[in-house]
Symmetry: C2
Subunit: 521 residues, 2 copies
């Protein structure tokens, strides 16, 4: 099965993904969890009943009654995203953060119309593309309507000479791949949220996929962007690159609905790969592996996928330590897609061997590839078992990564240890650049009595450590509400004021995702 | 001689570059010019005398009297840039656009202080780095002081693990290369203005160098940026890439002094190449050559330098048509730098042969390489001979390039033909991307009685054609004052208002380069 064959999954609050794909926690893992003090804490409670909402007549008139949903099921289905606190709140039946209504505009002009009406009414509006935010990007600071963009699902303006295509913001990543497959192309963007996420979300949050070494980040794929604002349309991208002032595409990419709603993007596409090869590599230590992948990132050649797990993550991932040939150390995954990959594979192997790596063969690679979208499914039964499981990520320059990793790990261990729930902290690198890389942490511990407060405390400790060690608060999850204050501190007051000034121009009545990305001013 | 051996050149108005390197127009070219009706029109007049300016006492107190120059020579040396109209105005002794004073701050704090004082006084201030603008980027809309950044020439924070270094905004490109050479590194940024331009100018104008296929554009090299504004400092870039909101580095890159003064940047560096190989290729037509270089840009491998001249430029460049083996057609230049370039050369050659190319050998490549910074020198004697010579450039997506090229050429031919001065229009591609490329035009014709008005009319026609054909108004020259109105039309009123709002936040008294980049609001 390739990425373009995966089904479009309808997400619902409280549990990730396709219900047909639920998994159970392996027995060996359950035993390990017991060592962390993890105990079942009970099952989800039934949510309180809510009455249907009401939508302003002007919106019904604009979109038609069938495209304005006020029933509680529709509203609940558009409540929050998929952070662990989001799941815990959903499981606890917490109906706060539920939109008053869900709108389904069918065109860019519809979106413009809705924003005009909402601005006149002072009604907050939050775009909903795939709904997979893990940073509180769907929970604004006041009562709001959700704008579900799923009807903006066009695939048009395919330009085979320039290798570009226009994709609607509501198009799921899976649907985009399926449509492009028919024409012989791929976008090559496969984040872990791939089964649920959408093009507009990729763009609005600067998403980065698992094949970023080969295909680049989503913001590097976008060559044109069309944005609706309460004051009208912004349309950018007349050339791949330009010296006509600042690259303003980059102002809307990553703007998370606060500076307008991206309704479509023109993206670079590539021919579908005809070959695919994934393999595992072993290094004696994370430090040794880091040197090896840095050499590939700086001097090349780069494979399509490049990941390096630390010792803890390697141990957890490999139920069978024989994969490492019985030796200790860490595992890397190296993947190649394209044509004539053999030359590149040989060149990469030469670098990795020279850096101390040992090939583990194709099975280790294929195991990772087949399970690449499974991790979020595992979180649900782990939560059922009483474990707290969450992830966080950062990025920094190569020279700072070891200290950054240690600082974040220490902060998490100390915060959760102090709370009586010592954690397991796993880490990997999955996105590399010439000058630095990302660090992705997975944290597992026993749930305390108030797991949301427990995690908030740990997350604050980790965020403080990231800032102090010179990392960015997020490499690919985005800002939302969870990172808003850390983000403001990271870019500083003048940069925040600058963004707020842009927002005032485009959104004079402050109805675009208030409290998301930017502090309210 | 390599790039790091080139001298730091002191530029003066009216003539390009190092006086020791002046050139004469070849006899064959003079004959060709006669066919265009080019006749000597006289020599430069003496400039009118001006009295010394006066600088506010607060600035003298801040920087010390030796760093505030008000003598007419210093002011004249900081007047305008190097567009052909700039040269013509300088030769005519036109002293308009001369700064009231030239300031030489010695640190980021000095720049902050100057901006605070200027803001209090309502005194406009324009940064002067290399002074090589060809788009009126040094001539604001009202009386001003020039801030020469040459003392901000630090090379520090060299990080050999991350391969980054901090460079001061006033550091010349040549000086940066010389300093990096000592450490075994290169920036790899070699625009045609290389002998005069500076790091801050590269950053503030999104410069692109002749080796952009291999090293990328300057905005792709910058990972961190430090900006001084009247309200304080903006400091961005904690990681190579981030999902922490919009990539605001891109808001200041290309901001041309209007949103603050970039005082230093952290840039990605690479090991100095140990091999270098340039060669010529022949294609039957520009269309065939365009297909060939598109294949390299889209499917690789990319050489370090990749240029394709059209039929007209090929004919003019090659005094000896035997270089093409006596055949007609167009010439491409392909250059390789790095280590073990032989494999890449062979792979590139395979693609080019398959696309119909014929290798012309190393001599054609070396001829181009040795003459790569010579073209601006040739303009001066051509102007002396009575020719009007100017360049303009654009970029667009591959599928639009043929029509874009034809539209611009037609507009120039018609406008100048209608004025009684039929031109020669030459074109080349020198920057390629997966989805498109740049087009660079050189125009030669006889000077009319009012050559500045003559060119203004032609340039307006070309700009209108670029907009209509879907190109961007500039790929690497920048906006300045010459492109300001076309730029505003290109990005639209809401994007312009957004930038103006940022400017009001950072520059409440509108003293930063008023009228440059942005229309005054």
């Amino acid at each position: 099965m390739t990425e373009s064959d995966l089904p479009v999954v309808q997400l619902t609050p409280g549990r990730w993904g396709d219900p047909a794909q639920t998994v159970e926690v392996p027995e060996a893992a359950l035993a390990a969890l017991k060592h962390l003090g993890v105990r079942r804490t009970g099952v989800a409670v039934e949510a309180e009943q809510v009455v249907d909402g009401e939508a302003p007549g002007a919106l019904v008139e604009l979109l038609g009654v069938e495209h304005v949903k006020v029933d509680s099921d529709s509203r609940w289905a558009h409540t929050r995203g998929y952070s662990t606190p989001d799941l815990l709140r959903a499981r606890a039946g917490d109906r706060a953060d539920m939109p008053e209504a869900v709108l389904f505009p069918g065109s860019h002009e519809d979106v413009l119309g809705v924003l005009r009406v909402c601005s006149e009414l002072g009604l907050a509006v939050v775009p909903y593309a795939g709904g997979t935010s893990v940073v509180g990007g769907l929970a604004p600071s006041r009562s709001f309507v959700a704008m579900d963009l799923r009807r903006l699902d066009q695939v048009d303006e395919l330009d085979e000479i320039s290798r570009t295509v226009r994709l609607g913001a509501g198009l799921r990543g899976t649907a985009a791949e399926a449509a492009l497959k028919d024409e012989g192309y791929t976008l090559g963007h496969f984040p872990q949220s791939y089964e649920g996420a959408s093009i507009g979300g990729y763009a609005a949050t600067r998403s980065s996929g698992q094949s970023s070494a080969g295909y680049g980040r989503f913001d590097q794929m976008v060559v044109g962007v069309t944005v609706a604002t309460p004051r009208g349309t912004v349309e950018l991208g007349r050339a791949p690159m330009s010296a006509a002032g600042p690259d303003l595409r980059q102002l809307w990419l990553g703007s998370e609905g606060a500076l307008g709603i991206i309704t479509s993007v023109v993206v670079r596409i590539r021919p579908r790969p005809v070959e695919r090869f994934f393999e595992g590599w072993r290094f004696g230590s994370f430090a040794q592996g880091l040197d090896a992948i840095r050499r590939l990132a700086q001097d090349g050649p780069l494979p399509t996928v490049l990941r390096l797990s630390d010792e803890a993550e390697t141990a957890v991932n490999l139920a069978d330590p024989e994969v490492l040939g019985g030796a200790s150390g860490v595992q890397a995954i190296v993947g190649f897609e394209g044509t004539a990959t053999a030359v590149r594979r040989a060149a990469v192997a030469e670098v990795l061997v020279d850096a101390g790596g040992e090939p583990l063969g194709e099975e280790a690679g294929e195991t990772w590839r087949k399970g690449r979208y499974r991790a979020p499914y595992l979180r649900d039964p782990l939560l059922d078992e009483g474990a707290l499981v969450e992830t966080l990520e950062t990025a920094g320059f190569w020279s700072k990564l070891p200290a950054l990793k240690a600082a974040v790990t220490d902060a998490l261990v100390k915060s959760l240890g102090d709370q009586g729930t010592p954690p397991l902290v796993l880490c990997h690198v999955s996105h590399v650049y010439e000058t630095g890389a990302s660090l992705y942490f997975t944290v597992v511990c026993a749930q305390a009595e108030d797991p949301i407060g427990q995690w908030r405390q740990a997350k604050t400790a980790a965020s403080t450590a990231i800032a102090a060690a010179g990392g960015t608060i997020t490499h690919h999850h985005g800002v939302g509400t969870d990172h808003r204050d850390a983000y403001a501190a990271e870019i500083g007051p003048l940069a925040i004021e600058s963004l707020q000034a842009v927002k005032r121009v485009l959104d004079p009545n402050n109805v675009l995702s208030p409290g998301i990305l930017l502090p309210e001013n």
